[in-house]
């Protein structure tokens, strides 16, 4: 009985060898999608294009003067973009323009534009001066 015990062990050993092989192979194979996934998820999650889009559309708004008509335009855009970004991009988006700054030089007046964006993963804040050509 003890002798037979000894002979049978190669089966268990083979099992272990196969299991080890399978395990190591699985690890190696799995690294590929993992790296691809993390690179791609990082790219997909980071709202680079959304922020570029917002900046593109806000720059001309920030160049407007302080008239009641431009304030209406800015107000409307503010409400539209806030509601749309919340509903479709799951992001809180807020911006403010200030055309009453007294910053100016020989050629330009400078309006302040503040952008806040937060989609839960990425938080973006920007404050910059938009040049308006003096007549």
């Amino acid at each position: 009985m003890e002798r037979l015990d000894d002979e049978g062990q190669w089966i268990v050993l083979m099992g272990v060898v196969v299991a080890t092989g399978m395990f190591i192979l699985a690890i190696i194979i799995n690294q590929a999608p993992m790296v691809g996934q993390s690179t791609s998820e990082a790219v997909l999650e980071f709202p680079k294009n959304e922020i570029q889009d917002i900046r593109y559309h806000l720059a001309p708004l920030a160049q407007l003067d302080n008239s009641s008509e431009s304030n209406k335009t800015i107000d409307r855009a503010k409400k539209d973009m806030r509601a749309l970004s919340m509903a479709r991009n799951n992001a809180v988006m807020y911006f403010e323009t200030n055309s009453t700054t007294n910053m100016a030089d020989l050629f330009y007046r400078y309006n302040r534009l503040t952008i806040r964006y937060n989609n839960g993963v990425t938080e973006y804040y920007e404050e910059h001066l938009v040049s308006v050509r003096l007549p």
Binding site: R3, D6, V16, Q31, A32, V130, S131, R133
Partner: protein, 377 residues
Amino acid sequence: MSRRMDFNEDGVLSIDFLAGFTIFMIALIMVISMLPGILAGIQSEAIDYDAVAYRTSVILVEDPGWPANPPWNQMDEIHKADIERMGLALSKDTPNILSRGKIDLFFDNGAAFTMTPDDYRRKVIFGDIPYLYNFSLRIEGEDPLFKGQEIPESSYGYQRRLVKVKNESFGHIDFSDGRYSTNTEARNGSEVTPYEASFFVDIDYGELYDRSISPAYRIDPRSDMLTFDMEKMLSDLDRVQLGDNGMKLEKVRLYKIQDGGSAQMLPYNWSDWNNETYIFYHGTEANYKASKLLDSSVFPITIKNETYFKMDLIPALPFSDEMTSGLRVNFTFSYNWTGANLDPGYTYLSGTHQYNYDVINVDQPYLVDGVMEVAIW
């Protein structure tokens, strides 16, 4: 008997060992499951290539490169090492809008010097591995531009980008279109012939360099080529008075317009006409490229019906970093009148053509579609 006992004990030890090893394996599995990033260093190359291709495309399409101001494409060959990053975008605020000057240098499309494969690896791909690459750009209506090696059948990183390319401004001065009739003045015949008079093309840097206009549509004398042409000089003039060879272009000179409006001639060597600041072409409209003017020996140029001039002002234009100044191109024509001086008198060209944001004066910069493919392997 003792031998059998030995075997028996060996067997027991093996099972013992296996049990221990299995527990160890299970533990190892659990540990590795819990730390998925533990072996992240092992990478699949095909995946890595895609990430590199994506990164490279972002640098090319969305980044203006470094140095950005003045743009890196204005470096000469000696200072090539100062170029740190070759982004093709016009500015950081205008992603996907590419600059012609940067494209021409990057794709070696008639540029003053070329980049080596090593330059492409160090200044745009980045990374320790000497990647192979293929960059290509096709601007709508033009031949595609390529840089790099032939793309293999498979396993390369890839990214396709859609872009716009800024076409630079062009001023057409056509004296037959009626707008320049007011530039035709009359003289009474008491002057000495040949009579000399000037026609100016004025470039007001302060007006052009307007930061409230997006760089995509700005005529920027510091980074854009300014081009204008001139034709049909004779159309509003009295042909009988001038005769066949009565009008000649005596000289072309560049002046700096000062703050107050006074102009001062630039101290260039006026015998060299194909240099890094300006190129002057003359001929007929169909063949002007064949007759790039090289030296001043052709002056004075007799003006015929079909005579055509074109001038390229190459960035950065002289003094273009001084916003309060400007550049004047002064065309001095001479007139040799014959025949009777009838009313309203001898006619000649005068006045100024403003190179500015007025669409009547200058064809404004515009954007054309393009597509770029980046392959890395």
